[in-house]
């Protein structure tokens, strides 16, 4: 008798170990937002080795505090959302929020979220999803994300609508972006002055090539760099010319004439005019590139506006030497920008407080205050263009210190020169192909012509469809 009791105990113990092992991850890596707001910036590395928190046993407060969980892959977004929680709690004393933010690495967060939504348990209330992964979460007949149209309401009139279409399915909005991601040209004025050229004279891409030749001749420094293992050179230029990877019906148009023209143009800049080089390290986010550019390696770089943050953080020696201008147009009067990248914040249907989470999300990102904060805190161009000329936007911050004022005057100029991008279900595969094959094979390896590389990409996409 005793022995079977012992057996049962052992069995329970063993099972207990397994269950504990499975559940441990849930509460790990937590870090509450509202408890000690002042200390926030210092608690960053808490995520890595914080003890698994006990169940939420927060002391009773007057109004009932709702606890929400937010997953992100970007430390900066955590600070932004934490700040929004403070403002929300001030303005909505009747429905205060306590937000628990969990910061993971990019891949880990997207994988965890995908599996949580797929399996029906373990998803957070609110989560960030990067644009090139977003389509994965809209697959199937019923996405596990909360519809946001009603919450956004009429505010959408003041927003760059193309940014909402990126996170939509059949006209239903599931995500809210942080920024427009207007693509611009960052010029190194020190190098251009040395070559005796003025970037403001550049109107079209042909002018750009001519100026580039002059820069190379005078200084021996390449005019620009081209991303080989990332999409941020080819894709914005494709969008700028008015083309895309897919048309609005989701048909594959990656190998159309405009796109061939763009890739051929990039090829010519590198191999014919010799004014551009493949980005050291393959992309504008490689450590090699940061070092190269910081040492005055190239006279300009084409990137979306959110790249400002990388200059400020990783290229301190260029402080005060960089000026931001619209892209050269393909022809005079043509569009001078493209909306690129982004992260859609979503509310999952697994949330027990969907309504509150959605209201908070819209407050944090679409409201006027929220939009202004995306600039002052994150250095992003807010999706809400009616704040672009607000006085807060020209106040001093680390970005105006670095790049000078008037960034938003320039942005207002090009706000209507951004084509929407089409993001069907197969979009992640398309981005993978651009990053893996298209530019690498045509420009770095030169094993395919630009036309062949794009045709090959189209065939591969068609196969996967």
């Amino acid at each position: 008798m005793k022995k079977s009791v012992a057996f049962l105990l052992i069995l329970v113990l063993t099972l207990g170990i397994f269950v504990a092992g499975c559940g441990g991850g849930k509460n790990a890596n937590q870090d509450t937002a509202t408890n000690d707001p002042v200390e926030q910036p210092d608690t960053n590395d808490k995520n890595e080795n914080s003890e698994p928190a006990e169940e939420d046993s927060s002391p009773d407060k007057e109004a009932e505090v709702t606890s929400l969980i937010f997953w992100t892959f970007q430390e900066l977004h955590k600070q932004f959302i934490d700040d929004a929680v403070l403002t929300w709690n001030e303005k909505n004393p009747d429905s205060p929020i306590e937000l628990v933010t969990e910061v993971y690495s990019y891949d880990e967060m997207h994988n965890k979220l995908l599996i949580a939504l797929q399996s029906g348990v373990g998803a957070p209330d609110i989560a960030d999803i990067e644009i090139s992964k977003f389509a994965n979460y809209l697959k199937g007949s019923t996405p596990s994300l909360v519809l946001l149209n009603d919450y956004i309401g009429s505010d959408i009139e003041y927003c760059v609508q193309a940014r909402f279409d990126n996170y939509a399915k059949d006209g239903k909005y599931y995500g809210i972006d942080y920024h427009v991601g207007a693509t611009v040209m960052f010029y190194n004025t020190e190098i251009l002055d040395q070559a005796g050229v003025d970037p403001k004279d550049i109107v079209t891409w042909d002018d750009y090539v001519e100026v580039g030749k002059k820069v190379v001749a005078e200084t021996g420094i390449p005019m620009t760099t081209i991303e080989i293992t990332d999409q941020w050179t080819l894709y914005p230029m494709i969008s700028q010319i008015g083309s895309d990877i897919f048309d609005s019906q989701g048909n594959i148009i990656i190998d159309n004439e405009d796109n061939i023209k763009v890739l051929q143009f990039l090829y010519d800049m590198v191999h014919k005019h010799k004014i551009a080089i493949p980005a050291p390290g393959g992309s504008h986010h490689a450590e090699e590139y940061f070092a190269f550019m910081n040492n005055g390696g190239a006279a300009s770089v084409l990137m979306p506006l959110w790249y400002m943050g990388r200059f400020v953080e990783y290229m301190p020696d260029l402080d005060g030497k960089i000026t931001i201008l619209p892209l050269p147009a393909w022809e005079e009067g043509g569009y001078r920008s493209a909306g690129m990248g982004g992260t859609g914040t979503v509310v999952t249907t697994q949330s027990k407080h969907q309504d509150l989470a959605a209201r908070f999300l819209v407050f944090a990102k679409v409201s006027r205050e929220g939009a202004i904060k995306t600039w002052t805190m994150l250095g992003f161009d807010p999706i809400r263009w009616d704040v672009w000329d607000a006085p807060e936007m020209s106040a001093d911050n680390k970005y105006t210190d670095y790049f000078g004022k008037g960034i938003f005057d320039m942005l207002l100029e090009i706000k209507d020169e951004i084509h929407p991008t089409n993001i069907p279900e197969i979009y992640p595969a398309a981005i993978d192909i651009i990053k893996r094959d298209v530019v690498f094979k045509s420009i770095r390896e030169q094993s395919l012509t630009p036309e062949e590389a794009l045709k090959e990409a189209a065939n591969e996409l068609a196969r996967q469809q």
């Binding site: 079977s4 007949s141 019923t142 595969a429 993978d432």
Partner: protein, 300 residues
């Protein structure tokens, strides 16, 4: 009385062994058998989203006939080939040297060679990623520079990319294989060498006719785990290139699973690749083992 005592004893004997193996049985069922079976089922499904699952027969397996899969298969096979080619002879030679009583500081070298195996792949991978950077000032290019050679763009060409992968693998696993071979060497009786000396054999003959045949079981073991290790390689390639593998130069089968499963949310297809990988590894190992006469030995 006697009878009940017997049954009681019998029963208690019956339970105790199960209690002791239960953790392993449970973990096997939960973390091995269940995922295996559900992977096999998923490989016949299209999984569009939560609750949106349909059986599509062998379509996932038909989709395997695409250039990417073959690139991944080719890369993985080449990688496995090179790691075996390097990581069997080299450790044997070093093990022979380190096993000699006359070698100076052999214990120091044994631990030094073993040390890299204790590092995490990711940490080591990031170090090698920077060492193989393309600037003139990176570790490897700086060494080349000392010899007056031009810097090389290591991680954006097929051959140099593979070289970087094999170097990382060699660095990490050399010491482990040396340990295997040293323990193999110590099992070879000294009498064999003594009688060979009496017969007038030189060191080369002794190596070929005593050492290598004596190490055969260890060699078979090392090759078998290298095949598994080689085909399962993921982290090394991931730290070098992340998910954007230029031209697929570091695309391995496991990375292909990762990309289709997580990057593109096609779990059904990813499962099909996984099952295919399992079969490929089994076939390669069965061929390898039968070439070495492993099965014949069993029958004897």
């Amino acid at each position: 009385m006697n009878n009940t005592h017997l049954t009681y004893k019998k029963r208690s004997h019956g339970i105790i062994p199960y209690v002791f193996v239960s953790p392993f049985i449970i973990s096997f069922l939960l973390f091995f058998l269940y995922p295996t079976i559900s992977t096999i089922i998923m490989s016949f499904q299209k999984i569009a989203g939560p609750g949106d699952v349909s059986f599509i027969g062998f379509k996932n397996y038909q989709n395997l006939l695409n250039p990417l899969f073959f690139t991944a298969l080719k890369n993985t096979t080449i990688y496995t080939f090179w790691t075996i080619l390097v990581l069997v002879p080299l450790p044997i030679i070093l093990a022979v040297v380190l096993n000699k009583k006359t070698t100076i500081g052999r214990n120091v070298f044994r631990s030094a060679f073993f040390m890299p195996a204790l590092t995490s792949v990711i940490v080591a991978g990031i170090f090698f990623r920077y060492a193989f950077g393309e600037q003139e000032t990176t570790f490897i290019n700086a060494i080349l520079g000392k010899f007056g050679l031009e810097p090389i763009v290591w991680l954006q060409q097929k051959s140099t990319g593979m070289f970087a992968l094999v170097v990382l693998c060699t660095w990490r696993w050399l010491g482990v294989n040396i340990v295997y071979f040293i323990s193999g060497l110590q099992n070879i009786p000294d009498e064999l060498y003594e009688s060979a000396d009496i017969d007038g054999a030189n060191s080369f003959h002794k190596l070929m006719h005593i050492t290598l045949p004596g190490l055969k079981p260890v060699i078979i073991y090392v090759i078998t785990i290298s095949v598994y290790g080689g085909y399962a390689m993921f982290a090394e390639s991931y730290t070098y290139w992340g998910t954007s593998n230029p031209g697929g130069i570091g695309l391995t089968l496991v990375q292909y699973i990762y990309q289709t499963g997580f990057n593109q949310n096609d779990m059904g297809f990813a499962s099909a690749i996984g099952i295919t990988l399992l079969f490929i590894v089994m076939v390669v190992n069965i061929i390898q083992l039968s070439l070495f006469g492993y099965f014949r030995k069993e029958e004897d």
